[in-house]
């Protein structure tokens, strides 16, 4: 019996050694394989860096922009025209159904951006036509026109100068798709396949996807930057963080997303595993819907801020691995104001404020708790129960509500909630990506301002901060905005979480991105 086991083990070992396969235990199924239409981490991780490239890329593990499909670019004096010079050696994937006849060129760039930009583009409406980030980053109002100069030169003309344009182009959504593939699909009358059976220029080729189970990739043998050191990458979709940890220990995964705080010690204490960490550029918060009474009253919002024992959440939910959040902007991003006046834990004061607002006997309300573990909040339900207990002490009776993740997000975007746990990891490292994206009046319409808080003074400050180019001036504007925000208390800021990754010892060359994206290209396995 024993020798049998040994033989089997050997067989299994040989199987694994013949090829370098990385198994990544991810949190959720992607909603699409086209990052242009994605809006959540699991979707971007499964497609953006794996299958595609952008004109500009963020450096590995950093926020600096480096050349991608564009070898270099020039910016006109007035800051309105960007000319990109494309590399000539980038080829698209060869798949079972598609064989490219030419390298990536200007036509592909035009096709990809016009698909999102132009409402009458033949592929605009295919698979829904929601280009969440493209619109969210205001690329549609930023870009006036895109022109092909020659096969390897593309010109972007903007309506007005925009400092974040290059950084936006490096974001997950700004990928380049194959026009040749699209033409073939049009001919076959199966345009919807463009986002389901993806073809990109990236380091890996999609082999097979089984929903809620696994995604398999092979290395792209003709990748322009050189074939990846890994032969295969498998995403094993494992929503339960504890199960991810168990699988890591059992060797079923080599790398796991978002380990649960209570399992961190188990990873760092295991000689076969290693733990990596990095302060995250994120913020977890509780947003109060100011369009719904009683949260329209400032005193009520402040009372809630005083009533929540946030230090306890840091201990219990984050197991002391996060720092207390004072501002929306984390300290890892510039323009974080360290002197903002914070609310301390003070139930007495909270009761006083409630009385002043006319709620001496409290009120009934709901808190929506995160249904999944996110980098900024590993356990929404647990935090919800703590909040429930804290608020009960000041007379506020809370029901905890939750939905599955996509439903949760879209209901929240419609403003159906009262109080909601949510958070944010920056996509481009700019303060506006917190202060504007999450709190501006425009974002109430867009749906990403979940407090639905619109303050004209605040809006004026952040608009100015976005358009000036002097860093010091921008910084001082954001300092002012943060103070105003904190006094108005549309959110209770909770935590800036440290990002952790657990992996087996043989995984080498992996870097945690501060922007929350995963890149497996640099990884090697010993």
């Amino acid at each position: 019996m024993k020798s049998w086991g040994l033989v089997l083990l050997l067989l299994a070992g040989m199987h694994a050694r013949a090829e370098k396969t990385l198994v990544y235990c991810s949190e959720a199924s992607p909603s699409t394989f086209n990052p242009q239409m994605g809006e959540d981490g699991p979707t971007f991780n499964a497609s953006s860096q794996m299958l595609y490239n952008r004109l500009v890329e963020f450096e590995d593990g950093g926020t600096k922009t480096v050349p991608g499909l564009a070898e270099k670019w020039d910016i006109s004096k007035d800051g309105k025209t960007y000319t990109f010079h494309l590399r000539k050696n980038a080829t698209f994937h060869t798949t079972e159904t598609f064989k490219p006849t030419r390298p990536m060129n200007a036509d592909d760039v035009l096709f990809s951006f016009n698909r999102a930009l132009k409402k009458d583009h033949p592929y605009h409406k295919v698979n829904g036509g929601h280009f969440v980030f493209f619109t969210g980053m205001e690329m549609d109002t930023m870009i006036k026109d895109i022109q092909k100069v020659d096969d390897y030169t593309v010109k972007f003309v903007l309506n007005q100068p925009a400092a974040p344009f290059i950084a936006n182009l490096a974001m997950s959504f700004a990928v380049v798709l194959s026009k040749e593939y699209a033409d073939q699909l049009t001919k076959n009358k199966t345009p919807e396949k463009i986002d389901i059976e993806p073809v990109g220029t990236g380091p890996f080729v999609l082999k097979r996807y089984v929903k809620d189970n696994s995604i398999r990739y092979d290395a792209n043998p003709t990748y322009w930057a050189g074939r990846a050191k890994l032969d295969k990458v498998v995403f094993a979709i494992t929503p339960d963080p504890n199960v991810r940890f168990q699988k890591l220990k059992a060797g079923e995964c080599n790398l796991i997303a978002e380990p649960a705080p209570q399992d961190l010690k188990g990873i760092s204490g295991n000689t076969k595993l290693k733990l990596m960490s990095q302060p995250g550029a994120n913020v977890g918060y509780l947003a109060m819907n100011v369009q719904k009474p009683p949260f329209n009253k400032l005193e009520v919002r402040q009372a809630i801020a005083y009533a929540l024992n946030r230090d306890n959440y840091l201990n219990v939910v984050y197991q002391s691995t996060a720092t207390s959040a004072r501002n929306p902007i984390p300290p890892t991003v510039w323009a974080n104001n360290p002197d903002t006046k914070d609310y301390d834990y003070n139930p007495e004061k909270a009761k006083e404020l409630l009385k002043k607002a006319g709620f001496a006997n409290g009120f009934d309300t709901e808190i929506w708790t995160l249904p999944v573990s996110r980098p900024y909040n590993p356990n929404g339900k647990k935090m919800g129960e703590l909040m429930q207990a804290d608020l009960a002490k000041v007379g506020i009776r809370v029901t905890l509500v939750t939905y599955d993740w996509p439903t949760y997000l879209s209901k929240a975007r419609n403003g159906e909630h009262q109080m909601i746990q949510i958070g944010w990891t920056t996509d481009n490292g700019d303060p506006d990506n917190f202060m504007g994206t999450l709190l501006s009046c425009a974002a109430v319409q867009g749906g990403s301002n979940l407090a639905r808080w619109c303050n004209k003074d605040y809006d004026k400050i952040i608009t100015r901060a976005k358009t000036v180019s002097d860093m010091r001036e921008r910084s001082s504007q954001y300092f002012k905005a943060q103070e105003l925000f904190k006094a108005q208390a549309p959110w209770v800021t909770l935590a800036h979480a440290t990002v952790f990754r657990g992996m087996t010892q043989n995984v080498e060359g992996y870097k945690i991105s501060p922007l929350g994206t995963e890149d497996f290209y640099p990884i090697d396995m010993k």
Binding site: N312, N315, V316, E385, Q388, L400
Partner: protein, 278 residues
């Protein structure tokens, strides 16, 4: 009365009765016992081990992942499991009994209709049916109760109907009919008391099914909602800590198992006492 004596002669049944009385007392007295509140969060006291494993005397059975006293949560959980188990049995006896007795007594179309309903209810596995009901009504403790009750109805209907059919043809019923007893009078005064034995057996088993199903719904997140200390929900919250705090998983499960086991044993004892045929 001979049956009851027989029951008390059965050692296992007596042990079960004593054990269950203890739980019932605990459930009734939980609010007045010197316990912490089951939902009070003790800051900085998360996942404390039970007292014999190095914990503090304040929390004899340890604390959960949020820092709530396990002893108090388990004791208060018994209120929910036993209380809702009891409610489910009472409602099932009332509704199921009425349907079964009337079906058996009147026969005909009504009988066939009731039997069809039973067939339909039994065509789905109990937990799935309960899940469907919760899906329609929305997850909550009370909706879980309705679901669990609906699921347990077929058993009660069939047992009471069978008992009525068996009694109906017996001499004393025929006799009372000969003396001109009205139908309703017959049903209530003559047949019903003689159907109680099988109903009591079924009720005891219904208790254990009800408690198991409520716990299962709680475990799936479709029953009791936070912060209610329901045993099944407590289990599902603690599954992430099987490694770091095994007692969180151990206690609620032992509570469920012991109570369900006691009701099943008692059910066996009752059956032996009332119905020596089996």
């Amino acid at each position: 009365m001979k049956s009851w004596r027989k029951l008390f002669d059965n050692k296992a049944s007596v042990v079960c009765l004593v054990f269950l009385s203890f739980w019932v007392l605990l459930a009734l007295l939980a609010p007045v016992l010197p316990l912490h509140s089951p939902i009070e969060v003790f800051d900085g006291q998360q996942m404390k081990a039970p007292v014999w494993a190095g914990g503090e005397a304040r929390f004899p059975l340890g604390t959960d992942d949020l820092g709530r006293d396990m002893l108090s949560r388990l004791a208060n959980g018994s209120r929910i499991s036993l209380g809702f188990g009891f409610l489910s049995v009472v409602v099932s006896v009332l509704i199921g009994g009425t349907l079964g007795v009337t079906a058996g007594f009147f026969g005909g179309f009504w009988d066939r209709f009731v039997l069809r309903m039973v067939d339909v209810l039994m065509a789905l596995p109990s937990l799935l049916l309960a899940i469907v009901v919760v899906a329609i009504l929305g997850p909550s403790l009370w909706n879980a109760l309705w679901a669990v009750t609906l699921v347990s109805l077929p058993g009660f209907i069939r047992i009471s109907r069978a008992a009525v059919l068996a009694e109906r043809e017996k001499d004393y019923v025929q006799a009372s009919r000969a003396f001109g007893a009205g139908r309703l009078r017959q049903m209530v005064l003559v047949i019903l008391p003689n159907c109680t034995a099988p109903m009591i057996v079924q009720a005891s088993l219904g208790f254990s099914d009800g408690i198991l199903n409520m716990a299962a719904l709680g475990f799936l997140g479709l029953g009791a909602q936070a912060p209610t200390p329901e045993w099944g929900a407590m289990l599902s919250d603690s599954k992430a800590y099987i490694e770091s705090a095994p007692w969180l998983v151990t206690w609620p499960g032992l509570c469920i198992l012991s109570v369900v086991l006691a009701f099943n044993l008692l059910g066996d004892g009752l059956r032996d006492a009332f119905d020596p045929k089996i």
